[in-house]
């Protein structure tokens, strides 16, 4: 199981109606894009608290999101180096600005918050429920085959942990033969990505066969939703929280 797999539980986040969860993710994602550094930091704190309740503590996150965190650090430094303004640090005649620092922090933090929102959604929601919600949201939209879109979304979510699992297996297989000692990063990337790609396509093929074997079609039994009765409260509180974040600027 990877971080993005469904983690069963009985918390309020698990039992919340999936449509409400999707709405909350959209609302919060849009708000963090419009708010500044303080708002993002507070939102990050809240999300970390929620993740703790679903037994995904900071240690687990740091261990399993190493690559993503390195990517964020890279974004941060690129942004810091690429934004002009009041010099903050000067190294070998190259100055890093205060504005760049703020902008880099903000962009990385926004990425992190949006990613954590997605993580909370996938960790507390079964992919079948997300598929059902997508179908429900797209039903009133004309000219969009909602069932097809929904199964695509469901499969994409199903494949995210599968690809991560495959990547881990391929990395172990390459490292077991000292592939990590290769100095050429392009060669290393090819050694990892080529088998991963093959494995992923094979998995997709197997999955499609398994679905066909069990009569998969678009004319399926419609999904059911199970509200826990706290949706109104949580939506209201989230709206207030979002408004407060936006007012903070």
């Amino acid at each position: 199981m990877t971080l993005f797999s469904y983690h069963p539980g009985n918390t309020v986040w698990h039992t919340l109606d999936v449509r409400c969860k999707c709405l909350l993710v959209c609302l919060l994602s849009l708000s963090v894009l419009k708010t500044g550094l303080p708002g993002n930091i507070i939102c990050l704190g809240v999300l970390m608290g929620i993740l703790k309740t679903v037994r995904l503590g900071p240690a687990t996150l740091v261990t399993q999101l190493k690559a993503f965190l390195l990517f964020l650090i890279l974004i941060f430094f690129c942004r810091w180096a690429g934004t002009s303004g009041t010099p903050m640090v000067t190294l070998y005649g190259f100055s890093l600005s205060q504005q760049g620092f703020t902008s880099g922090s903000l962009v990385s933090l926004r990425f992190l918050v949006v990613m954590l929102l997605g993580l909370i959604l996938t960790a507390t929601t079964r992919s079948m429920e997300i598929k059902a919600a997508v179908q429900w949201f797209f039903k009133p939209v004309p000219f969009i085959p909602e069932k097809r879109v929904a199964i695509m979304a469901g499969l994409a979510l199903k494949f995210m942990p599968l690809i991560l699992d495959n990547a881990r297996e391929v990395t172990h297989a390459v490292n077991a033969r000292c592939g990590n000692l290769r100095k050429n990063p392009v060669r290393r990337l090819i050694n990892l990505s080529w088998p991963l790609l093959k494995k992923t396509f094979q998995s997709a093929d197997d999955l499609s066969l398994a679905m066909q074997a069990r009569c998969y079609s678009e004319h399926r039994t419609d999904p059911r939703f199970f509200p826990n009765g706290k949706e109104g409260w949580i939506l209201g509180l989230t709206l207030i929280f979002c408004a407060w974040m936006l007012l903070m600027g």
Partner: protein
């Protein structure tokens, strides 16, 4: 007289340059059959069984289910012929045991209440009730295999096909699976099982079919055919392991 459930009529499916695949396969599966399809790796066992429910289409020949060409109604064929894949991980689609079992009936557009009843029955039958909310990724190999079978059983098939069911299973899981196969057979399901390890099921099977290079080489009573197995690269289960390795 035996009632014919499934029949393949000169089935041929060639891959690539034409020297691999299956060739001119004529096989009959009766309602009370338990057929072991034996043969070494690459002999065409999986290719053959994937034609039984239309996952692969033949180059020539046809598959008849209750006398009707399966291509005329693939959904019916796939409902009546359940397939348990070699690797259960590739068969498991949902994020919880309950949803996984419900996947098939949902595809058949059954009523939600009916789906729930059927899933409950299968959960109880296969002893998976206590795992209903678990993520299938966290189950053991044996439990995953049972879940894959549950996902098939809920669709009430007449014929269950097992593709190398003992692969990657420990001894207790093999024993438990063999018991389950016996129960399923006794409860009226026809069974076709591909394997290169015939030992666990040879005494239960009603017929053994030996394949080699895409063709059926021998067919008949499993125990009588056991001595021929070694000719086709399959271990004779009646030769003790120590003696087999000494050879």
């Amino acid at each position: 007289m035996k009632t014919v459930l499934l029949k393949t009529d000169h089935l041929t499916h060639a891959f690539g340059s034409g020297d691999t695949g299956i060739f001119d396969i004529c096989l009959t599966v009766s309602r009370d059959d338990f057929i072991v399809l034996a043969g070494k790796n690459g002999c065409g066992k999986t290719t053959l069984i994937r034609h039984f429910n239309g996952l692969l289409m033949p180059d020539s020949g046809r598959v008849l289910l209750n006398g009707q060409d399966i291509q005329k109604n693939l959904t019916f064929a796939r409902k009546k012929i359940g397939m348990v894949f070699q690797d259960p991980d590739t068969q498991i689609i949902a994020d919880s045991v309950f949803d996984e079992i419900a996947f098939g009936p949902e595809n058949l557009n059954m009523d939600r209440g009916e789906i729930n009843d059927k899933v409950e029955n299968v959960l109880a039958l296969l002893g998976l009730d206590h795992l209903r909310d678990r993520n299938p990724a966290t189950l053991s190999g044996g439990e995953k295999r049972r879940l894959a079978i549950a996902g098939i059983l809920v669709m009430e098939p007449d014929l269950i096909i097992f593709d190398e069911p003992f692969a990657n299973l420990d001894y207790p899981s093999i024993l438990s699976l063999v018991k389950l196969c016996r129960t399923l057979h006794q409860s009226g399901h026809a069974i076709v099982m591909t394997t290169h390890d015939v030992a666990p099921v040879i005494t239960m099977a009603t017929k053994m079919v030996i394949m080699d290079k895409g063709r059926i080489k021998e067919e008949g009573d499993p125990v009588s055919l056991a001595s021929s197995l070694e000719l086709y690269g399959v271990k004779n289960p009646f030769i003790p392991m120590a003696q087999a390795w000494a050879l």
